[in-house]
Symmetry: C2
DNA sequence: AAGGCATATGTCAATAATGACATATGCCTT
DNA sequence: AAGGCATATGTCATTATTGACATATGCCTT
C-alpha cells in the first residue's frame, strides 16, 4: 500500500473512473505511468477498497470503471489524517537555472525562453481546464461541486504559480547581466 | 551520467565544496541523499570532470573539497544547452488536498493548518537564507556575485511561491464549505 | 559519563519507478 | 490500404532510489 495507492483512492473519491482516466488525471499532481497504476488497482480491488464495473464499448476497447467501497472510504480518511510525507521533486530546469549566471548570454537567454515557453503552454492548459470544469458544472449542477472541487482548486493554484514563474523569468533576465552585487537590492515584483 | 551528476556540477560551478555540502545544498532543488551523491562524485572524478583537494580538519573529520575541471565545465555547458527533462513531482500533500472536499470539517481544517505550518516554516527558512546570502556577499564582495546568484534567485522564487500557497490555503478554506457551485465565481486573489 | 547532535564519508540490500514490449479496437488522414 | 493516433489494459526487465548499516571525530547538554 504505497502513496500512489492513496492517490488513486483520492481521485476515485470525486468520481468513478477507469485506470486509463486515473493515469491521465493523476499525472497533473503525481508523476506516474500506467505500468504502476494497473497493478495497484488490482491490489486495491483484491483488498476490497475498490470495486469495478465492466463497461462494454463499441468503437473503443472495453473498460473497467472503478469506484470506492465503504472500506476504501475509511482507508482514504485514515490516510488523510495520517502524517504527510515530504514532497519528492526532481526538476532539471531548476538545476539548470541555478547555474545560469556562469553561462554565456546566448545559452542563458535560450534557457529562459525555453522555460517561458513551457510556462505559457501550461497557462494555456490551465485556462482550458478551467473552461472544461465550468462546462462540466453546468451540465451536471447537482453532482458537480463534489466532483469538480479538487480539480478547480488545483488548477487555480497551478495557474497562479505558473504566472509567478513568468514574472520571475523576467526578473532573472533583468538582473542576470549585473556583475556586481546590486541585484541583491532588486525586489522580485 | 544521470541528471543528478549534472546537478552536482551545477552546484560546483558556483564554488568548490564537499560531498556533505552538496548533499545539503542540492536537497533544496532536487530530492536526493548522500547515498546517491558519494558514488556519483567518485564517478565524476574518475571521468576527470571534477578534482578533489583533501582538507585535514581538527574537531571534525577530514573532508574532500571538489572543484570543476575544464572538462567538467564543458560537460556542464553541453548539458545546459541540451533538452530539459520534465520535472518529477510526488507531493502527498497535494494528493490529500485534492480530496479535501469529501472530508469532514475537522479533518479538512487539520490538514490546512498542517500545510500552513509547513509554509510558514519554509518562509522563515527562506528569510534566513536571504540574510545569510547578504552576509556572504558583504564578507566577500568580489567573488560573491557568481557564487551567490543561483541561491539568491532560487530563494526569491521559493519565497514568492510559498507566500502564494499561504494565500491559496485561506482561499480554499473560504470556499470549502460551499455546497453549490458558487465557488467557481470566487477568484483566488 | 552517557547520550545526542553536527560533521564527514562510504556501502548495500530492498524497494520503487521507468521504458519497452505486448495486444486490441476503430477512427481519421494520406 | 497503410500508418498514425486515442483509447484501453496488462507485464516485466532494467534502472534508480531509499533507508539502513557502518565508521569516525568532537562538541554540548544532561
Amino acid at each position: 500500500m504505497n502513496k500512489l495507492s492513496y492517490g488513486l483512492l483520492s481521485l476515485l473519491s470525486t468520481e468513478p473512473m477507469s485506470g486509463y482516466d486515473l493515469t491521465t488525471k493523476i499525472n497533473k499532481f503525481w508523476r506516474s505511468t500506467h505500468s504502476a497504476i494497473y497493478p495497484l488497482l488490482s491490489e486495491l480491488e483484491e483488498g476490497n477498497y475498490i470495486e469495478l464495473t465492466l463497461i462494454e464499448q463499441t468503437g473503443k476497447p472495453d473498460k473497467k470503471i472503478y469506484h470506492l467501497t465503504d472500506k476504501g472510504k475509511e482507508l482514504l480518511r485514515s490516510w488523510f489524517i495520517s502524517e504527510t510525507a515530504d514532497e519528492v521533486c526532481r526538476d532539471e530546469m531548476t538545476l539548470k537555472l541555478y547555474c545560469i549566471n556562469c553561462m554565456d548570454e546566448e545559452a542563458a537567454e535560450t534557457l529562459l525562453k525555453e522555460y517561458e515557453d513551457r510556462c505559457n503552454k501550461r497557462i494555456e492548459m490551465y485556462h482550458k481546464n478551467l473552461a472544461r470544469i465550468k462546462v462540466l458544472a453546468q451540465e451536471n449542477p447537482d453532482n458537480a461541486p463534489a466532483s469538480v472541487f479538487g480539480s478547480y482548486i488545483m488548477t487555480q493554484r497551478g495557474l497562479q504559480k505558473t504566472e509567478l514563474d513568468l514574472k520571475w523569468c523576467e526578473w532573472v533576465r533583468r538582473i542576470y547581466k549585473k556583475k556586481n552585487l546590486s541585484f541583491l537590492k532588486e525586489d522580485l515584483r
